[in-house]
């Protein structure tokens, strides 16, 4: 699964996004998602920064996510 496919699935599959936020390691293993080390680290940081955010219902009013992508 590429990074773009992963991003698309995060915002379009509520169950997947929820499980990923709870236990990313297990979801990645079970789904057979192959990520490079830097992609995996990027995902973990992204999930940690957005752990209280509903990733499937982002809208224009939720503000620039840019402020959340740095650790």
């Amino acid at each position: 699964m590429t990074l773009e496919t992963l991003a698309y699935r995060i915002v379009t599959d509520l169950k997947f996004a929820s499980q990923l936020q709870k236990d990313p390691e297990t979801v990645i293993q079970e789904e057979g998602i192959e990520l490079s080390e830097e992609e995996y680290q990027a995902l973990l940081i992204f999930l940690a920064k957005n752990h209280q955010r509903n990733l499937t219902s982002l809208d224009l009013d939720s503000g620039p996510l840019g402020e959340n992508w740095s650790d």
Binding site: L3, E4, A7, W69
Partner: protein, 331 residues
């Protein structure tokens, strides 16, 4: 906002390097004055974060030189040359995108952008050609001139593709981001390491750090553009296929992609179409993708820098710049 110790003296020092070049030629005072307007526009910009980042970028060659074990002051002419090229590229980009800035010198700069950008490029070349006279060994000076010219050509290539590829795919978009922004930042960082007489492996690490940093700058710009209010002109309203657009076009089903394509076509004339295009991209993960991609680049940049040099104040400053770029929009 993180304050840089370079802020107080770096910009005047760069200005002085440029002035030393301009006073040695028989420039018409009006053209000289026009060139001068290209420099002060940066710190005078209304967005304080924006002005700060330009100054930080100007310091990259100096910081990399010091982090690689060299004397930071040796890199000032190279930092000045790089900054003048940065300004020239900014002017060319503004012209290409037809996105004129606002400001008191708008009339002058909008009329004379091609001439001014050519003048800035020539000034940068002039500074580089004085390196040997200023004590830089001939082989290093020659290599730096070669690296600058090679990078300028690569950037031109990237800019050309950006203009002629109306609907690039995602892979092409990444290649353009690397050619236009990544390579240019790689040049600044690599140049510092070359001046420090670092070994090939070390130079490669600084180059890699700069490459990823430059791509993050592009990601941040595109991310901000994605969330920008319709009051400002943006890549989306201009119908430009930036990274979020090419992402969305790749992941969306055919029918939804066609709807987005039509919205983008109408975005220049319709605020509603522009807003709907933004929403469609965000709803389908464009912001999430950009953040993941940005974080990945940040990880790679940090790793490259830590491979390339030992801990030092200069390395901390470089990591702080990386952090600041990654936090774009927050300050």
């Amino acid at each position: 906002m993180i304050q840089s110790p370079f802020d107080s003296w770096l910009f005047p020092a760069i200005l002085s390097e440029a002035e030393n070049t301009w006073v040695r030629t028989d420039l018409d005072p009006r053209f000289h004055a026009a060139l001068q307007t290209c420099l002060p526009v940066l710190p005078a910009a209304p967005d304080s974060w924006n002005s700060h980042r330009w100054l930080s970028f100007s310091a990259l060659a100096i910081l990399c030189c010091e982090a690689a074990g060299g004397v930071s002051g040796d890199a000032l002419p190279v930092a000045a040359a790089w900054t003048l090229l940065y300004l020239a590229a900014h002017l060319v980009d503004s012209l290409s995108d037809c996105q004129m800035e606002t400001g008191p010198d708008l009339a002058l700069r909008s009329i004379d952008l091609p001439t001014l950008s050519t003048g800035l490029i020539a000034s940068a070349e002039w500074i580089l050609n004085t390196l040997s006279d200023r004590g830089v060994p001939h082989d290093i000076a020659g290599r730096l001139i070669f690296e600058f010219n090679r990078t300028i050509l690569q950037m031109c290539s990237g800019q050309h593709l950006d203009l002629i590829l109306q609907e690039p795919d995602l892979q092409q978009s990444w290649r353009m981001a690397e050619a236009k922004s990544g390579e240019f930042f790689a040049l600044a960082c690599k140049s510092g390491a070359i001046l420090a007489k670092a070994d090939a492996g070390q130079i490669e690490c600084f180059q890699e750090f700069g490459l990823h940093l430059g791509v993050i700058v592009q990601i941040s710009d595109d991310l901000r553009d994605l969330w920008r209010n319709g009051a400002e002109k943006s890549d989306i309203s201009a119908g430009k296929w930036s990274l979020p657009v090419t992402y969305a076009m790749k992941v969306l089903p055919k029918e939804a992609a066609e709807i987005l394509r039509n919205l983008l076509r109408k975005a220049a004339d319709s605020a509603e179409a522009e807003s709907n295009a933004r929403k469609k991209m965000i709803d389908n993960g464009a912001a999430v993708y950009m953040m993941l991609a940005g974080q990945k680049r940040k990880y790679l940049a940090s790793a490259a820098l830590q491979r390339g040099c030992l801990a030092s104040a200069a390395r901390d400053q470089l990591l702080a710049i990386l952090e600041r770029v990654a936090k774009m929009g927050k300050e």
